[in-house]
Amino acid sequence: MISGFETALAGGAGAVIVGAVGWAGTLLLKSVQQRASDGTRSVTDAASANAALLSTVKALQEENARLWAQNAAQAAKVAAMSRRVTDAEDQLRTALGELDAMRRELVAMRQQASP
């Protein structure tokens, strides 16, 4: 038969056990929550870094397209100027040819005029 004293002892021990298990359970729960929040934070940080990288890539792509367009505009200007130079060269050649013909005509006229 269990004495009253032993019952009191068992009751005290039981209370200590319940308190200790409850406290330990709370601490373990906090540990799990901390790990979960650390994991979430690292995922969020990685997502932010990824978003920043994507934004940088997009900006670089836009800059690239702008530079290509600028390059194409410069090339068009160079082509137009090249055509103008070619046209001017053709005109110059034609004028030089006409001048040469006029000089030959002048020489022939001078030869006819002299006795």
Binding site: L9, A10, G14, A24, G25, Q34
Partner: protein, 139 residues
Amino acid sequence: MWTRSRMRARDVLDRMSVAPFQGAIGTASLIAVVAGIFGIAPPSMTAFPLPIVVAWTILLAGGSPLMLTGLALLAPRVEQAGLVLLSASYAIYGGALLILRPVTSVTAAALYLLIAGACLLRIRVLSRALAAAAWTENE
């Protein structure tokens, strides 16, 4: 792979070296639990009522692995949870010895009750360290 295992073992040893007495108490408690499973209990346990013996065994079986794991893996809250259970276990054992054998077991009772107190002090130290770390993070 051998190098990685050796480094991990060295890391665990380094962490245990930070609190060697705690590691010793945890290991001794684990040995006591394993011995208890095989029916080898401390002699003073024969005077205890069965509920005390069961409570002591369960708390020791839960507390010592948790405490050692928390210490080895640098998980302060897990270590604290183990210390809570160990503290309760040693408090029950020391308290029972003091009540049931106040004269013959005074030294053993004092040892176990002081171990229980040391576990509570260590819980306090870890709580303050965690609070300081949280404050630093928020800064």
